[in-house]
Amino acid sequence: MVSTIQNTDVKQKEADRAVVVAVTSRAVFDCGADDGDEVCEVGVAFPLLQALQRVNERLLEENPSESLLFDVVLITSDSQQQQQSSRIISNTRHHGLEISRFCFSSEEDFTESLLKNNVHLFLTTDRDEAAQASQKGVFSALLNGKVASSEQLRVVFCGDAVIRTDTEPPSASQDAAQSFWAQLGEMRRRFGMLDSPLSLVLLTSRGGRESCGTALQTLRSRGVNMDEAYSLAGAPQSPILSLLRPHFLLINHLQD
């Protein structure tokens, strides 16, 4: 059973142009005890939503009739949170979050709500949820709990497998990934080099400059111009990742 509630405080985005990002409510609000109107603590995805909102604001500044915007949808699938639907909605209002729709479903059906809402990217802190969504062809990523919030939306793409994608027919999820990237690339082009509200970062961890260079050019040919590039060639990833401060990390591995 899946139900969707529109947030009437927020202007709905154009369905076929918006970049729909779904986030689990568990990641946005940390609702502890079950008091009726209690304000919840913010969760790990909160800085991300704020950054997405800033991108939208800037896009509309550049062009008030812009339709390529982030469309944020909140997914609530665990029964505990279901009972707190009114709390979730009131907290959204309280924190001023630009969430357009609230989707409630059972744990088994949540992928259905993703598909119904034409979700382009699904973010969660739960690895199994991400895997399930992925299997249904929805591009998914895990939220990095250790992110320091930054004004700018920082998207890090681990590009080790960009080249190899071309040797096999792409899966539904890979297609979803590519189209998400193309949308991001188009969004990025709305802004100049300096003072952009989003930054696209390429990280190659295994290969050397050849891998990174090829990835840069391949992405460019798909309309995605990276701002930053890091080639690790086996150097430890975690110190670099903590400096990069990604809001989310998109990894495309063909093999483990």
Partner: protein, 361 residues
């Protein structure tokens, strides 16, 4: 085939590191064209070079300064397939690569090698031209950071950098403040024939290898007081300066050649070029080095004579000094020089106190 992967926050640092390393090793071992695999950062001597020290980007820099960032990036992209000309750190990098080949011959499985990293705040789209240029000269540079405008200082630490070379003195000062050996390089017009078989590195002593404690005495109390002081404290080791650890790293690699009976044929040679005189204040310097367990191949005491002519004979791939006066003297005679912005020497020029501009916030 998995589409998503958890960022390794749960396992210990070592486990994550080992996995990253093993995956990279597999990648390089499986490449069709055998390029040397970059060493493990914790064992390597990591040298970070900026794009403007590695390549000559004077023309491009002018576009940036006259026409702004967007035009500059567009210019670089237009000229992407044209390799850039070698820059001031280029001979140094080639000499490092030569040492690596010799080390790989003697120690095929060792990770104790030079690791050259490109550290630039250029935009990633400019990076394509940088990568093409590195390809053109076949340089073994596999690691890089193109920060798109952010300061590279944090990344220097993340890559465990042993030496950072840049044209930007602010970045160099920041690095030194963070405890990373660093120096600002200057363009030099030279046809000096540098050795292709031996890496030659020259260091000034005070405020480079050693702290500036003695230089403070000279500047504030004069030479006579300085000589007396040095005689009195001859057996007290000087405190270390910003480039001491780099000399130490070079020494570690030198010993690997000595261990294989290659002392006479060692592809690394170090020089101390100091304004001190051997008789009155030289002993303390040598004793300090000895107390640190460090060796320097040649120690040259100039007793105040200009460094230029001597350096012209030595022909180092790089010469480190803290005083611009010496840097300029060396440059005039064709030596590739790198300024270490450390210590009291920064406040003086040719012995006179400089008016300090208010510190930039």
């Amino acid at each position: 085939m998995s589409e998503i992967k958890l960022t390794e926050s749960a396992p210990t640092e070592d486990n994550g590191e080992e996995k990253d390393w093993a995956a990279a090793k597999a990648h390089f071992d499986n490449l069709k064209t055998k390029i040397p695999r970059p060493p493990k950062p914790r064992y390597a001597v990591t040298i970070a070079v900026s794009s403007r020290t590695l390549f000559n980007m004077v023309k491009e820099r002018k576009v940036y300064e006259d026409e702004g960032l967007e035009k500059y990036v567009a210019y670089q992209m237009e000229h992407e397939s044209e390799p850039l000309m070698p820059g001031v750190a280029f001979p140094f990098v080639q000499a490092l690569m030569n040492v690596n080949s010799r080390l790989r011959q003697l120690y095929p499985d060792s990770e104790e090698l030079f690791d050259i990293v490109l550290m630039t705040n250029n935009h990633a789209q400019v990076g394509v031209r940088l990568i093409n240029s590195i390809n053109h000269y076949d340089l073994t540079i596999e690691r890089f950071c193109m920060t798109g405008g952010e300061s590279p200082i944090g990344y220097l630490k993340a890559y465990m950098t042993n030496l950072y070379l840049s044209k930007n003195s602010d970045k160099v000062m920041e690095a030194i403040e963070e405890g990373i050996a660093a120096a600002t390089m200057f363009a030099v017009d030279t046809d000096n024939e540098l050795s292709k078989t031996q890496l030659r590195v020259a260091f000034d002593g005070d405020a480079v290898l050693f702290s500036d404690e003695s230089e403070i005495i000279v500047k504030q109390h004069g030479l006579d007081t300085f000589f007396d002081h040095e005689k009195e404290f001859v057996n007290k080791p000087l405190a270390q300066g910003p480039l001491k650890c780099f000399l130490e790293a070079l020494g570690k690699l030198q010993r690997k050649f000595i261990a294989k009976n290659e002392r006479l044929n060692c592809p690394i040679r170090t020089f101390l070029v100091t304004a001190r005189s051997a008789a009155s204040c030289g002993a303390r310097v040598l004793k300090t080095l000895r107390s640190w367990g460090l060796e320097i191949d040649e120690a040259l005491f100039l007793a105040g004579a200009p460094k230029g002519p001597l350096l012209e004979k030595i022909k180092p791939h790089i010469f480190f000094d803290d005083q611009m006066f010496h840097i300029e003297g060396a440059q005039q005679m064709g030596t590739i020089s790198a300024h270490v912005p450390y210590g009291i020497g920064q406040k003086y020029h040719k012995g006179k106190l400089i008016e300090q501009p208010p510190k930039k916030e």
